[in-house]
Symmetry: C2
Subunit: 252 residues, 2 copies
Amino acid sequence: MEHKRILLTVSYDGTAYCGWQHQENGPSIQDELEKALEKALGAFTRVTGASRTDAGVHALGQRAHFDTVSAIPPEKYPFVLNRFLPEDIRVTEGMRVADGFHARFQAAGKWYTYRIHNAPHASAILRHCTAHVPVPLQVESMRACGRALLGTHDFAAFAAAGGQAKTTVRTIDAFSVEQAGEEITLRVHGDGFLYNMVRIIAGTLIDVGHGKLDTGCMARAIESKNRLDLGVTAPACGLELTRVEYAFEREG
Amino acid sequence: MEHKRILLTVSYDGTAYCGWQHQENGPSIQDELEKALEKALGAFTRVTGASRTDAGVHALGQRAHFDTVSAIPPEKYPFVLNRFLPEDIRVTEGMRVADGFHARFQAAGKWYTYRIHNAPHASAILRHCTAHVPVPLQVESMRACGRALLGTHDFAAFAAAGGQAKTTVRTIDAFSVEQAGEEITLRVHGDGFLYNMVRIIAGTLIDVGHGKLDTGCMARAIESKNRLDLGVTAPACGLELTRVEYAFEREG
């Protein structure tokens, strides 16, 4: 029996979960995937995720690897596992990777999306996948402020306590703020993110958007490395891990 | 005490409800609104909706009227009622209307949106607000077919049993199919819709999109008045009542 390492792409609505990682106080995405794998493969199988998303955070394209001796063709895993998974977790892709591959340590880039519902009253329909902000936000100020993120910087000010990163230097190479009706969407791409970093960025931009903080605050916080130069940590429900990239998927 | 008629705009995620209208077998949107009004006004208050949406159907802009002697300023109703409503129902607007005004009988136009998630695997995040179609759909065929809807026609073929309409003649004056990534969005505007009409249109377009029905089927069904010339009724969860319009809101 040949030993194989399989990489899955996993999408989930994080509303009902205590986060990606196994915890004592509630169901996690990892638990549900491991239960589904046990049913499909007949043996307990540990999965390792690319990102340990928090309670209430969603994912369109989380990635996770596991090892198996099963003969199931890798591309069949979505069909096999979705039979056993709850509706709010879907496996959308399966592929074989090298034995030494690691979903977290080898992640080369990540896209995150943060969604704001900017309207006087909360949304009945979007309540689980947006943060509601009743005060009108100035999108131009948010864009101007966020530009300071681009480049390679020490983002020490952008990390919540509890992170395990060895260095706080990260490279952000794409950032945008789009407005469509009552929805404001922030998108950010980088080589990695510190604990709560995207939610701190989003919370700061919300404060900038209604004039509580000035547009220079992010540039200042990068310089000062002081968390107090930034705004509040925005709610988990607005955040989505959109895509995790690996070197073998890059073009050119 | 002055008697006033108030018109509300109501948004809801219909997933947990048996539909707009009161029913014995489960909670309805109407029930929840009437409970909230009773708490806010101290007296049972009947609400009359513009559209009796089915179980699982959503609304961004349902409208409903009620009568009251309360001194609450009409524009304060969203704040007053949202305190008592569950999170999946939000009142977004309140205004005073003439005593003889009727939310349903005076509706002059309605926008409906039908959302399809067109991807091999269902979406964990969009599962409650889209219909999942795994087979790739040809959007151009769907557009070509749907063009036949435009105009004033006898839509007898487009009605499910159980409707109470006196005539099956309706005017559809806007129709579009947009594709963005894995999402296909149908939008339709008309002066009124028969029972299940938008879901029958959506189901037919899905069948046309994967070649099960030809692009001429809608034109033929308008002619034949035969339900069998059309496709299946698409699932409720993809449907949203987006906006209800009244003559007093029309510009010009």
